[in-house]
Symmetry: C2
Subunit: 372 residues, 2 copies
């Protein structure tokens, strides 16, 4: 058969594919509507896993790659999360009042939007609204402090007295100090929240929100349930433990990326040339460094300088660097391999999982790479 005819067939099949997606979207929108009405969470891991298992079996029986159908379905499911949910069930009675201090900021805005979509009545306190703060919080069921980390404690102290049953929460990336400030301010229910995502996520599905208990968990349980209805996953943690984990997950990782970025910029290689030669993994390595510098310097300064032990940890990192440089000085390949194996042993089977995971991701990255 001529190539033109084959391509014509592909065109026809792709038209059917798009039509099919349009139909599927209609049905999943109806499912979303149903979930909203009965108040079911948008993300249903059990149903998702079952569906994918069934489709994999179906694909195999038709000689289609199960991995292919799984990848396609996961992408379609992501889309349905986006089109499905413009509204959510509210756990508290409709029109219950939520106050978000700093609700004009990027992350604060996302929470305003999510509460409004859940039929809450949301009021925002920004820096010019302090004179009315007292009347604004009067009948609030929840006050969330969503201001930059360096202002959090100060703003908590400035809050007017809250109703006894009002929940006081914050969204700061450190949890111990803000939690203490909230407990000192308010004698009612208190919970510290740390959304582990930026304001630019398409929705809250599968996003992690860390929750550190302050006081009266049964009284803020409705808030936890509300966040779960939005599709997020709550990870309960101790505030101190959270903060020390964040020093590694955020502060030190950003700090060393900052150093690598400075190093690269001062070496001043031709970036286009590096990229032209880069395989996906090296492109990703470069991207992970470069992406930091597309973002707000203030945010990273706050995270790095705000972490209690940044200096101590940076010194420990330096110690490791010095010992690695010594290996280079002495051309001690054997020592390098020994230390490499020690670290490998520490990562244990996780390092293999990371390798598998990153490979799958790199394949996807490669899919959308256009090369000449």
């Amino acid at each position: 058969m001529a190539i033109e005819q084959l391509r014509e067939q592909i065109d026809q099949l792709d038209i059917q594919l798009v039509e099919l997606l349009a139909q599927r979207q209609e049905v999943t929108t109806a499912v979303g509507q149903y979930k909203k009405e009965v108040g079911k969470p948008i993300y249903d891991p059990v149903r998702e896993a079952e569906l994918i298992k069934e489709r994999r079996a179906l694909a195999e029986s038709l000689n289609v790659s199960p991995d292919l159908i799984e990848d396609l379905l996961r992408r379609m499911i992501r889309e349905s999360y986006q089109t499905q949910h413009n509204a959510y069930r509210s756990v508290l009675p409709s029109q219950s009042k939520i106050v978000i201090v700093g609700g004009g900021g990027a992350l604060g805005k996302r929470f305003v939007d999510m509460f409004e979509r859940s039929t809450y009545r949301v009021e925002v306190i920004e820096k010019d609204d302090w004179s009315q703060a007292e009347s604004i919080v009067k009948d609030a069921k929840l006050v969330i402090v969503a201001v930059p980390i360096k202002l959090t404690e100060q703003v908590i102290k400035l809050l007017p007295a809250l109703p006894d049953d009002c929940v006081l929460a914050d969204l700061t990336s450190l949890k111990d100090a803000p939690l203490k400030a909230m407990l000192a301010k308010h004698s009612g229910p208190v919970v510290g929240l740390h959304p582990m995502f930026g304001p630019d996520v398409p929705n809250f599905v599968k996003q992690v929100v860390v929750a550190c208990d302050g006081r009266f968990p049964e009284q803020y349980e409705w808030l936890i349930e509300q966040i779960t209805i939005w599709g997020a996953v709550i990870q309960k943690d101790d505030a101190k433990q959270h903060d020390s984990s964040m020093e590694l997950i955020q502060a030190m990782r950003h700090f060393t990326t900052f150093v690598y970025g400075k190093f690269l910029a001062n070496q001043d290689p031709d970036l286009e040339h590096l990229l032209r030669l880069s395989s996906p993994i090296y492109r990703l390595e470069l991207a992970m460094t470069g992406r930091l510098f597309a973002q707000d310097a203030n945010l990273y300064a706050d995270i790095i300088f705000g972490a209690e032990n940044s200096k101590t940890l940076a010194d420990k990192f330096k110690y490791e660097l010095d010992s690695a440089i010594e290996l280079l000085e002495q051309s001690d390949k054997f020592g390098f391999k020994q230390q490499f194996e020690d670290v490998a042993a520490w990562f244990g089977k996780k390092s293999n999982e990371f390798l598998t995971e990153s490979r799958a991701m790199l394949k996807t990255a490669q899919d959308s790479r256009d090369l000449k």
Copy 2:
């Protein structure tokens, strides 16, 4: 409509989807067969871009997200590369002889396989075959040295004399020294190749192969064409420039990841706890460190200790670390922000591209993340 009925509808649509994929696969296999017969490269960037543009327009007209259809198509196209091509046209006459020294190694094997699928006659020289090397290379059109980097020059010197028109090539990750050794050994055509991918890639489509000219490019042009037919993208580069780029792309990146791994292991946090709290971007940060240690220590030792300027570059990195630690010591947030902006300026608009790129990738990573 009851939820069961809606789910039944989704089931029916998904069955149609899988059937459609099976049909599409049949047609793309026929396209692959056609491409093989006429000798067209497997990867056709122009056709791919056109097809995606058309489908996006079609999706929009049916109220389906264009990004959704693009992502699905790219994944399906990746699959078709895999099912489509079990055989390739050979540029030289069928049964022309190729010799791969170290063809028993992981990367060497991949090249043996690709040449055999292209109807070449491939012979391998491994360490026990040196006594027959002379007779093996007698009528070879191409000899590729595919041994570990520390053996490359030594093995090149050991090669018997090659036919005048035989192409001599290597696959080492450094290019200057092996190229010099090859030019000294052989007076015929010489080219240094660096495949920027590991032996575990599913196929060569969109993979980068760096080619550094040695001598008589018109005489090895067929090899470049052959690699292009496999779907790879050739990037021509100067050997010295390549090597200095690799010091940054490979050696220093691996070196600093090694240091960060040591640092993490010695801090000894609960890795599961870190992962539980990690959003996709931090999970990826951890994965990019951990994945290194799932791999062969020897490979990384060779790359890091093999790079000429590793020590000098590591010292420069240390200088940047010291100056960043000074910022911490003096709580100099202002200085941090200034340096941050300088690096951002160096990355220029690339940092924004990196951010966009990594966001798209993280969304995909998130798709397949199963959370409880």
